[in-house]
Each structure stands twice: as structure tokens, then as C-alpha cells.
Symmetry: C2
Subunit: 215 residues, 2 copies
Amino acid sequence: MNGHNNTEQAILEAAESLFFEKGYKLATTTAIAARAGVTHAMLHYYFRTKEQIFLKVLDKNMNELFDMMHTVMSPELTFSEILVEVVNLNYTFLAGHSQLPGLLFEIAGTCPEMLTRYKERFREMLDVELRRHRDRFEREVKAGTISPIDPFQLVFMIVSMNLSTYLALPVMRNVFGMDEDRITAFIEERRGEIMRTLSARLFGNDFSERQTEKK
Amino acid sequence: MNGHNNTEQAILEAAESLFFEKGYKLATTTAIAARAGVTHAMLHYYFRTKEQIFLKVLDKNMNELFDMMHTVMSPELTFSEILVEVVNLNYTFLAGHSQLPGLLFEIAGTCPEMLTRYKERFREMLDVELRRHRDRFEREVKAGTISPIDPFQLVFMIVSMNLSTYLALPVMRNVFGMDEDRITAFIEERRGEIMRTLSARLFGNDFSERQTEKK
DNA sequence: TTATTGTTTAACAGCATTGTTAAATCATTG
DNA sequence: CAATGATTTAACAATGCTGTTAAACAATAA
């Protein structure tokens, strides 16, 4: 009655984990039902279709994604703070949603209609929120405190660097045979390397050096 | 008789394009047969199973991939040349194999056994070929001509930056609604940005500037 | 108790998938 | 031409998938 139905919740959780593991098309309703410990008819009773379940799961994750992005884009942050925030928060978010990017890539490639409902929010993100920082950004470029760079390229660079780390994990595990300890180490080394690279690109030096210089 | 059987070739070509479009699991033998213009029984006659067809297609592409990597790793090239070569050649290769990375990610995640046969070659690539450059690389670091960086991190950075460009295309097209002209422009802008970023990380400045300085 | 409502089960329909097989067709060679 | 082998077809088997439905079950309220 209260929307926290046991079965419904079990189905949603099973669905989420399976969608993350197998992708949208390959996660079967039968398998979801089995993992949730109910007959597969139940999940048609509660959600009607597989697509409905997926949209519920997707929506939850997309809201978390947009929340994270809004935090990062917060107008209170200075540009330099944003840089650190973006990398760290985005990285932390990915640690808890390491399978989301892969799923989104699948959807974007095979059934982009399911992402249509988020197009407007994406656009707003880039057009409105990013533009809000653009002036300050370009002032810094003019003043010579950061190297010239197209803001869109910068955003793309940051996001793609972070994503790459997590997208590569299955390859690291299954092709290069890394164990979980090595994986953890890799993720941290990579975070440092991303910071150093971005810092070199924008400030022409190592960011940690820059931090200490400042005092 | 000569291995250039018409039907066989048609099936292989249809299979390759469909595997690239839909991925391994979602490309059905029936659809492959339809695209090749033969009945689906034909492709069992020629290849026995779907997996066999896939392995044929995969093998062809992996050989091209390793050829490219060997060229890049060629011992005749100096480290600075390699940097330019790696980015450009790797980028060119991706232009002609833009769907291969996605397919490999799927396989690495869902049925890594199919990649086992290439593990040895990957390992040799990293252990032998990369090591061959390591000494020279570390001399340059010691001499201060390039910034200190872990060779593996560098390779990962280069490859992941290039891959990101192509992996993002479906998102750019279907979510951000870029048309093909915009896509082409994006790919070129991105190549420039990758060069500038790597150059800043390694040499502390813009690579094109460095090129002109040198004369 | 009985009626009502919400939940669960089991069986089924319809379809798509991979792979098989027996027979038909085609090409080549003696 | 005839016969041998390679190729192609059409029909079929077996399985798994999504989604439906009628009936069983449980909880609750009259």
C-alpha cells in the first residue's frame, strides 16, 4: 500500500543489478524474477513490461547523476575548486555507479528513445549551467592564469578520463588478469594521473606543486 | 575451392557489419543471413556455429589491431616520434574501426574466454615491446626532457583518450543530436586537444609550439 | 462467515532464436 | 551423358524469451 512493497522492491533491486551486469537487452525478465525470488509473472503484474522496469531503474540512476552534476556545477565554487571537485566527485560517483556508463552507452547506441526524456536536462546542463561559468573561465584565460581551452573540450576531457578508468575495469580484470587489489591501486594511481594531466594542461605544472606554491 | 567463395565472403561481411552494429549477443544468425542474402542454414553449413563466424571476424580485426600496435612500437622511432605516431596512427586506425572498441568491451565483460587467445600477444606487447622503450624513456625523464610519468599510465592515457572520442560518438549523435558534419569537426578538435594535453603533461607546453621552437 | 480486494501461481500462447537434416539443385569431371 | 561431390533450400526440432490469463490464495472489512 505504501509503495514499499516487498516484492516490488526485490524486483527493482534484482533488475538493477542484472541490467548493470548484462545490459538492457541481455537481462531477461525471467532471470530478474529468479534473482528476486519470485515467478516471472509477478514482474509483469507489478511493472507490466520489461521496459517499464528498466525506465524505473534508469530514472533512479539518472537522478543521482544529475544531482552529482548539479553539485559540481554549483555557482558558489570558483573555477579551480570546480576542477578539483569535478574530478573527485565525479570519480567518487563512478565508484558507486561503475556499471552505469556502460549501460548508458548501450542505450545511446541501440535505443536512444529511452534517453529522450533526459535530453532537455542534459542540454540545460551544458547551455545554462556551463555558460554560467564561461565568463569567469574566459577571464581567467585572458588573464593568463589558465591556458586557453574550449570549455566543451575541457568538460569532455574530464568526463572521458574519469569514465575510461571504470570502463576499462572489465578489460583489466578479464584480459590483463588484474586481481581486486591491483584494480583498487590502479584506480587510485589513475586518479592522480588525471589530476596531474589536467593540471599540466590548464596551469602548465603539477597541481600539487601549485597547491604548495600558493601558501 | 580457393577460399574466396562468394557466399562465404558475403556471410563474413554481413556478420562483421552486424556484429559491429549490434554486438555479439544481439547480432542474430538469421539477421546475418538475411543481410548476406542467403538462407540462415547456409551460415551453419559454412561456419557450423555463430561463435565460429564471430571468431573469424574477431581474428581479422585483432590482427589489424596488433599490426597497428607493432608499427607504433617500432624500435626505429624515437620516443617523441612515437608520441605523435601513437596518437595519429591509433586515431586513424580507430577512424576505420570505430565500432571495434565497443565490441571488445562487450566481449571482455560478458565472455572473456573468447579473448584468451590474444592474452599472450597483449602481454608480449606490454612486457616486451613496451619494455624495449623503457630505458630510453627513463633516460629522458632523468635528463629532464620529459616529466616523470609511469609508462603504463602514459599508454593507458593515450589509448583511453583516443578511444573515448569514438566511444562517445553514439552519445554525441543520439543524445546531443550532432549531425555528421559536427561529428567530423568534433573528432578533429578532439585530436588537437589530445595532442595539446599530452604535450602539456610530458613537455610542459603546447606541442605545436615546441615543434616550431625546435627549428 | 462472506465478500472484496490485492497478490501469487501455474499453465499457456506466440514468437524468435540456434542449429539440424533430408532432399533438391548445381557444377565438375570422367 | 552420368555420376560424384559441393552447395542450397525448406522444413523442422528444441529452447528461451516476453507477456497473458484463469484460477488459487491471503488479508481484510462488512
